[in-house]
Amino acid sequence: MSSHSHVEGQLPHEPERATLEGRNKITGFWLFLGGETVLFGTLFAAYLTLRGQIMDGPTPDHLFSFLLVAIATALLLTSSLTSVFALQSMHRHDVKALLGWLIVTVILGAAFLGLEIYEFNHYVHEGHKFSTSAFSTSFYTLVGFHGAHVAFGLLWAILIMLQLKNRGLNTTTAPKVYLFGMYWHFIDVVWVFIFTVVYLMGRVG
């Protein structure tokens, strides 16, 4: 972990890959996301198996509102874009812009999460509780797992921002920012699938 390349002078263009630790983290995180893909794949499979079992609860067609989900989607997709801007700022070694874009990302993510909480609350009032039917259980588990990932990502981003503020950009903090970026894109991709499989197919299929 000779992570002190700033001693020798300038931070390299891609500080996240400057040390073996950094490279290890990136390789490992790609693999971790592979595992996460299986995790969500299994959740999707469970949802697809059970989504027809509505019992006495409200139907997806009755529950889902396109407007709400469209706004949530727009927020999350935009936050993915702003996380790319954050990474570009990092490669320019512009810590101020990096922090700025991370803050925007967190705000957008928090707004998404807020909408999701509102949405779940609304559904519960409509009689769509966790234990209503196999459909409701698998719905809340799939979408909830995604929501939990978003919440974790927000806390993570805040922790990284505090570190950037205190210690600046170096070969220890840079891989963290990069990993967060990868994580955030992954969350985004999962949401695209949720949008399609849960909401679109819920209204159409």
Binding site: M1, Q53, S133, T172
Partner: protein, 622 residues
Amino acid sequence: MAHAHTVKRHTGIMDWLTTVDHKKIGILYMLAGGIFFLVGGLEAILIRLQLMYPQSEVVSAQTYNELITMHGTTMIFLAAMPMLFGFMNAVIPLQIGARDVAYPFVNALGFWTFFFGGLLLNISFFVGTVPDAGWTMYAPLSGTTHTEHFGTDYYVIGLQIAGIGTLIGGINFLVTIINMRAPGMTFMRMPMFTWATFITSALILFAFPALTVGLAALMFDRLFNGNFFDPSAGGNVVLWEHIFWIFGHPEVYILILPAFGIISEVVSTFSRKRLFGYSSMVFATILIGFLGFMVWAHHMFTTGLGPIANALFSVATMLIAVPTGIKIFNWLFTLWGGSIKFTVANLFAIGFIPTFVMGGVTGVMLSVAPADYQYHDSYFVVAHFHYVIVGGLIMGIFAGLHYWWPKMFGRMLSEKLGLWTFWTFYIGFHLTFFVQHFLGLLGMPRRIWQYLDGMGLNELNFISTIGALLMGVGTILLVINIIITNSKPKTASNDPWEDGRTLEWTIPSPAPEYNFAQTPLVRAYDAWWEEKMEGNTKMTPVEPIGPIHMPSPSILPFFMGLGLFIAGFGFMYAREFGTVSLVIGIAGLAITFICMGLRSWIDDHGFHIEEEEILKDQGVKA
């Protein structure tokens, strides 16, 4: 040095609680896995004692169900896998010429989550509500309707916590093998055990998240009234079977591939020959790993998936016999014409070959879907999977134990006692399980508590129990061997077998904290053997001796595991004790997450082992 941080280097128990050294973590895995192995073995002996005579009542029916459930769960998740992780930790960095694994901290975390998960599972014995729905936890039997007590909760939460450790361990070894190999160690020069670990880790990565979801779903059903597997609310019990076996079948290859790797090393070393067909061995390993994901429904032939699904899964299963056969022949051809040394390690390896072939043949028999309707849930299946798991995996582990013991501890296990271990265990094993094929064909169902007299099952069951006791004797002999060896001085040389082929035999036994004083240059497959053949007495170094960077020890992994342990109890008992319990659960999770935050927050650059210390080590050993 500009960064000579003074890091406290702990001693005694604190050293073991805070260690991030892969060699020590390997020993911890071995120790914990070994203890769980003895627990699981004791459960097995109780099972066999109950079945020794018809209609006996050594244990009650309820206890019997608990024993079979815990025996399977313990042996697979808490004994076999940790012991394999022990070998991976002890050997992989040494085999690839690395100073450590990619993530030493995560490595420690993996151990502690496994340990606390296993502890949680086994505490159920003391609480009195033990998992009793079979290690496969089929729904709806595992639901609250049929098992209201906390047994299944212990299973679900204990395995979930232990599973985290396995998953991060798998990722760790993947990255270690991809990024940390010594110069010249190309993929096609990696030792077979490293290859096997690589593929196994990939299987862990893609199989365990399915189990995570399955366990989470069952937990939601039980703790929060979910309906995944509750047919009365639209749930689907076959869904559990699919999820469980999509994880469960790769799991058996997760278990056996490292054993294949160990056998390859041992057979090649003690035949004093290059492994026959190395590249086909690598290819076969990859192919087995790939096909391992395509065959899960062969556990469900009688579930009623229909003839098309059964036929496809049947054919896919038979296909696995091809790469496995390649491996068997490669081992035989390695032995062929070699100047074989019959050390204990090699006896286990050679004993493994016919035993595993028998397990493979019954495997192909079981893969024939129409015939499986006869074998299903009978003792034939029990015999089959014990032939591949005990006769395959455990023999591999015992071979590895005798082979790498000097590298791990600096002392040779007694070969004389080892011979006794081998023969008692080997004969005991075949005595126990060979007859079970016929018990199965005679119609004895698995998992039954008693059988009636006069059904022709008495003699074979009696023989089987005698065999199990003999296996117990073999295991006790191994434990005695370990205790005796432990009291002897550390006299093992760098290459105690004198025929070592791979990099771990180029450094002192046990390896120093930094493994390699100088990173070696790898010039061929079987790097060390090649150097010896050229008359060299050491590897060519790629760097001068200099200060070596080491990661700092940390107590955080221990507390992260402990936090999950507390959280598990809290959430489990919320059903009975309400809010208080829930608060404890949340507090436990908080401990884990706060430690995680601390880990991120504290910039820890480790410390350096200085040149003088390395030179001193070498002076002592050289």
